[in-house]
Amino acid sequence: MDVERIKFERTGGFAGMTIARDLKPDDLSEEQVHKLSELLDDLEFENLPEQMTGSESMPDEFTYTITVETRRGEHTVVTGDASAPEKMQELLQFLNRLARKKKNP
């Protein structure tokens, strides 16, 4: 998948702190871009349902809104830690670690 941009938003969580990031291939290492493409391809991200949450969030889980833009268009998926299927967990961990706030980033 030729990713042009990923919009990542994480809300909720025990601390209730929102993170919103625009991730572009140019800002990532070659290795990171490769890994990301691999994860998205494995998931067939474009074909995932837009809502991958239960009817209600589980207390304190993060809610993720992930939009992947490619040349062919964009696709958005909303999911949560407890409701995401097992195969999505690695992508969530990967994006989480990329996007989270750090001292001296």
């Binding site: 809300t11 909720g12 969580g13 025990f14 601390a15 209730g16 702190m17 929102t18 209600e56 969030s57 589980m58 207390p59 304190d60 889980e61 993060f62 809610t63 830690d81 407890a82 097992e86 967990q89 690695e90 969530l92 961990q93 989480n96 670690r97 989270r100 706030k101 750090k102 001292k103 001296n104 980033p105």
Partner: protein, 382 residues
Amino acid sequence: MHKHSPVNCIVPPYMLKNIATSGTPVQKNVAMETLKLSAQMRGQRQALADFSAATFRVAAGGKDRVVYDARNGSSLPGTVVRKEGDGPTADVAVNEAYDGSGVTYDLFNNEYQRNSIDGNGMRLDSTVHYRRGYDNAFWDGEQMVYGDGDEDLPEDERLFNRFTIAIDIIGHELTHGVTQFEAKLQYFQQPGALNESMSDVFGSLVKQYQLQQLASEADWIIGGGLLTENVNGVGIRSMKEPGTAYDDPVLGKDPQPGHMRDYVTTISDNGGVHINSGIPNRAFYITAVELGGFAWERAGQIWYVTLKDKLTATSRFQDCASQTYQVAGQLFGAGSVEQQAVRKGWAEVGLNVDGGGTPPTEPGGGCLEALLRMIGAAPAKR
């Protein structure tokens, strides 16, 4: 025992328990009969069963903890690393999850006669080391899950420590389980913020109970010790002064309001459940400090009974204000210092206990004194 008890009102179970455990056989009997009656009145067989078990405990079979290790993966629950009765391991997160859920169990069991999350001895499952670099803890509907914070970053970049570090976080997550079995508060907007607040209230009480702190001695901070020294903050939330827990160039500023006039309307965070919880949090803090003593006793009892018997899935702040006031009247009498403290607590966050909700119906009027007089243990007049 007579057909009609002279004391047909609700007495705090913790008082009854004290009487029943330390009283004479006659006193024990009276306390037990009174509890039976009030349990029948409320149609709560379970409360009675729990009370009997707590007071005349013969067999164990209450506290049952299991701690699992996700080994940085996301499969739940993971591998069992410590079971009830096992000694400490070399892993601090495992021991914190074990000990913290134990103190939480004890608070609910000893003070509110509640046998675990479901009131029926449900096993307390905790998973530690969830994923890698996971800055969070949550309740997944069946168990507690804890991340290690920023353990994967160099120390000078870390903002969060492991989430088991603060015992009130453990109490907070377990209380989500209690709420799930009782009021079932929707996790959205005001019912969701009440759900969050109940978890902060009992989370903080677990910490105070562990430390045997008076309301005036407690810090009323949620998540103390969770932020690293790279962050300018003392924790995640302050029940005493919402909005003051942290103010940091990287993390931003604590967004919690402590008054209805500052209520935040947002669609983020399930409608601001972790933001607006500051309002009911502060109402509890004021009530507890106004009453003095141990916050888990009178203030905690009022909030617990409200969570168990009054709140519903769609309850809003006003409902909680009116109902805690009503419950305080039922437990301690109309016009009691307890009821006045509840009124003050909500007034200071901009809510009038007389507004909306169902009006107080219980005549009250010193039912506790009546019971104590009957068994010859009347306290000095307040």
